[in-house]
């Protein structure tokens, strides 16, 4: 695998990796065979460690073969619906030649698992997968050596099936992994990468496997952070300001005493009420009278774009080639457009939740988090404790999408357990969830592009403001081009946003792909060309051509200049190393401005697919979720005051929106596996904008494409 095959990454940096002392770790697990992985390959580091972090100095343990033959994989990654609980187990079981049922994973526990930066960026399979498979290959090599000794045969005579090593010539001569691991205590470190299986040897990888967590999740047994119950546990409600930036000036908690057994905790700006029932804590917090000094801020969801353009101080060139003025001269038609998108919430059904306990000075927090190690360090820092005295355990996470890379609730629970000495649960209400969400930033994209009479793109001058640069670089064949990123990335910068922003499923790429793919269709229409034909005429990238052609075949795309009245749209993009092309059919009710997305086809080239069923499920999830930011999702606000506080005004996709979805996974087993959790969402804005144009001739330049905006566009165009 070449390092070049991976796009540059731009993720939050978590500075202090830590791992349990090796001796302690081995003591905890008794006998068996351990394969420990010490980070050595710079290639692996690129994905796992953000720029500037320090590396773990001791070891990262990846797996153990127990004396019962069970295989345990340890990973700092977490399961939030994306399905790595299944695909990682598939990789491990396949490489070791054991049944899938004998593999278990311990995930996101900072005491037991190797340090990990966080679960985001569709990186688990791409970057954690290779060392994980290497560790399994190493374990198998150790087991084969032991078996050769045991059976008194050369390794070349041995074969493995379902955890049983046997003589190729006499199957009865055999020994199981369990027998080999019995009474052993073997530590192995990987120094050089052992060979892993190739495609033709896979038994489980690339085969569809159903979710391994489903039985727990359909019976209510699956535990989420809010399902942890500890003796004497109290539920906290925290006093919240009316707006971001508001300062608490006075607080009166005297009326809380009317509520039996309610306990008030005050520590600086933290004012909380604790009770053994969360609903009673709710009532109690409502009795607290507080005054705030709220700064006046005029910016709102309508004026934000103008504000952002003026707030963009810094800029950087993401990519460039040729000469823009040459490009302009070569162009017969020039198009200058501006695209907008609003703030979007993560709106996971599970709100940010954490349960914390302090025992003998050591704090344990069960948290809904995408970054358990990040939370551990945040808690240690906020509470002034040594990092070793904090343990974060990550149960199942009820959706993340980038929003649970922020861990405020975990720190709040840890503070409250430290202050009270009792176990405390902090589970945000829906209103808190909307208020403290790190929204996908509002953003602006400006594009000036030009084409020749024959429909070749000659000029591409692209500038993105505040979304971030992921997915901003075009992949078309354009001689004169420049891509600029203005302002800060999705984390926001000072003076940019009135509240927190952050990564949202395929951060920046949704904004960038909407703008780029809309612009492509504008040019195609002007050139009098079919949008697919226009793209292919301006595209050399083989993978992108491959997905476009595969989508067209599945969709049964027939060429026509837009608007054709059919309501067909297409868009393509790339994210996390994966290529996607989507085609859709929509129906627009011109009177109400409502859009019904009837059908979406997606072709995806993600390299080797570990679990085709899981990959399809992610594509379907991306398409369905993406309908929301395309059509309705928009956070309304004035200054630091957030108006949308629940699902009544903030509309996320529903059953009735669900289109017919067809997914084509390109067979690309010779390419390394790429990301699967995010790519298929990036096209949804451009896809539907282009389909609306094809249906009606109205061009939408702003996400979400609400009925009001569609009616306006219909009148304008």
């Amino acid at each position: 695998m070449l390092e070049d095959e991976y796009p540059d990454l731009d993720f939050i940096d978590i500075p202090t990796p830590s791992a349990m002392d090796r001796g302690e770790f081995l003591k905890l697990f008794g006998g068996g065979i351990f394969v420990l992985f010490t980070i050595g390959s710079p290639f692996t580091l690129k994905g796992q460690i953000g720029g500037g972090s320090r590396l773990p100095t001791d070891f990262n343990a990846f797996l153990r073969i127990g004396e019962d033959g069970k295989v345990t994989g340890f990973t700092g990654k977490i399961e939030m619906g994306q399905g790595v609980v299944t695909s990682l187990a598939q990789m491990l079981a396949d490489e070791l030649d054991v049944p899938l049922e004998s593999v278990e994973l311990i995930m996101g526990d900072t005491d037991l698992c190797p340090w990990d930066m966080g679960t985001w960026g569709s990186m688990t399979t791409r970057f954690f997968g290779p060392p994980f498979r290497n560790a399994a290959a190493e374990a198998k090599a150790v087991l084969l050596e032991l078996a050769a000794e045991d059976l008194k045969l050369p390794i070349s005579r041995l074969n493995v099936d379902a955890g049983v090593v046997f003589d190729k010539r006499n199957r009865k001569k055999q020994v199981t992994y369990a027998q080999l691991a019995k009474g052993k205590k073997i530590e192995k470190h990987i120094e050089q990468q052992p060979p892993v299986k190739n495609f033709s040897e896979f038994k489980l990888v690339n085969k569809p496997v159903l979710r391994r967590d489903a039985p727990e999740k359909v019976t209510g047994r699956a535990k989420f952070a809010g399902d942890i119950r500890l003796p004497g546990m109290l539920y906290a409600r925290i006093l919240r300001p009316p707006a971001h930036g508001a300062k608490l000036t006075s607080v009166d908690t005297s009326a809380v005493k009317d509520i039996k057994e309610a306990q008030v905790v005050r520590d600086g700006d933290l004012v909380a009420v604790l009770h053994k029932y969360p609903d009673v804590a709710d009532k109690a917090i409502a009795k607290v009278k507080a005054k705030y000094d709220t700064p006046a801020m005029d910016v709102d969801d309508k004026t934000i774009f103008k504000h952002l353009l003026s707030a963009a101080k810094e800029e950087e060139i993401v990519a460039s080639g040729g000469n823009l003025s040459e490009g302009r001269k070569a162009s017969d038609s020039v198009f200058e457009e501006e695209y907008l998108n609003s703030y979007v919430a993560h709106a996971t059904i599970e709100t940010h939740t954490a349960t914390a306990q302090i025992e003998e000075g050591r704090i344990t927090v069960w948290a809904s988090t995408q970054s358990p190690f990040g939370l551990k360090d945040e808690i240690a820092e906020e509470l002034g404790m040594p990092s070793k005295d904090v343990r974060v355990i990550t149960p199942y996470v009820g959706g993340g999408f980038g929003g649970k890379a922020r861990n405020q609730q975990g720190v709040e629970a840890a503070r409250l357990t430290k202050l009270t000495g009792k176990p405390v649960q902090v589970a945000w209400t829906r209103a808190e969830e909307f208020f403290y969400d790190s929204f996908r930033p509002a953003a602006v994209v400006k594009i000036t592009s030009g084409i020749t009479k024959s429909g070749k793109i000659a000029l591409w001058d692209y500038g993105v403001y505040f979304a971030g640069d992921r997915g901003s670089e075009h992949f078309y064949d354009i001689p004169h081009h420049r891509t600029m990123a203005h302002g800060s990335g999705w984390q926001g910068g000072s003076g940019a946003h009135p509240f927190g922003t952050g990564p949202w499923r395929a951060p920046a790429n949704n904004t960038n792909t909407f703008a780029r793919e809309s612009q492509m269709d504008i040019m195609a229409s002007e050139a009098g060309m079919d949008p697919l034909e226009f793209r292919l005429k301006n595209l050399k990238n083989k993978k992108m051509r491959g997905v476009l052609e595969a989508a067209a075949k599945k969709f049964n795309w027939t060429p026509s200049k837009a608007p054709s009245g059919r309501g067909y749209g297409l868009a393509c993009g790339t994210d996390s190393g994966t290529y996607v092309a989507h085609m859709a059919e929509v129906k627009v009710d011109k009177k109400s401005g409502k859009v019904l997305v009837k059908r979406v086809v997606c072709a995806q080239d993600m390299g080797l697919v570990i679990n085709p069923e899981g990959a399809k499920l992610q594509v379907e999830g991306c398409i369905t979720m993406g309908l929301g930011y395309a059509l309705t999702e928009e956070v309304h606000f004035k200054g630091g005051e957030i108006y949308d506080r629940n699902f009544d005004t903030y509309e996320i996709p529903r059953f009735s929106w669900t289109p017919e979805i067809e997914t084509v996974l390109i067979e690309a087993e010779d390419s390394p596996p790429q990301g699967g959790g995010e790519p298929a969402i990036v096209c949804m804005g451009g896809l539907i904008a282009n389909a609306i144009f094809d249906a009606t001739g109205a061009r939408l330049y702003q996400l979400p494409m609400t009925p009001e905006r569609i009616k306006d566009a219909l009148q304008r165009d």
Partner: protein, 158 residues
Amino acid sequence: MEQTIRFTLNNKSRELKLDHERRLLWVLRTDIGLTGTKFGCGRGLCGACTVLVDEQPVRSCVYPISRARDKKVVTIEGLANNGQLHPLQKAFIEHDALQCGFCTPGMILNAYGLLRKNSQPTRQEIVQSMDRNLCRCGSYARIIKAVQTAGREMKGAK
């Protein structure tokens, strides 16, 4: 006001002394400790907290415990029968009809209410009766198929 309230929970009778205005969701999750029923929005808008009361799906986050008096409450923990998964539970597994799984208990119990009245619902009927249950991961297409499969199995069993 504290009252004694009796009801049947997953086929076992329960008697609790509590403030009768408290919502069923929190009584289930905290007083009783059955955590399969989830909190999502607190206003009956998302359906994560759906349970059955006398076989009808209700939103337990807005349902006062007093209304459950002398009624039969079934939560996700009570749906399997003697260790045998309900056809809906099996169908959700077979269709991979979930991702993070947080909305799943509410989805299954809401679908139960539909299938009780109509074991062979059309796609449109499923969409209509499930439309107020939200899944952020976007598993709707598979849930529709799972409900249809479960309906067929339930009908066959009769």
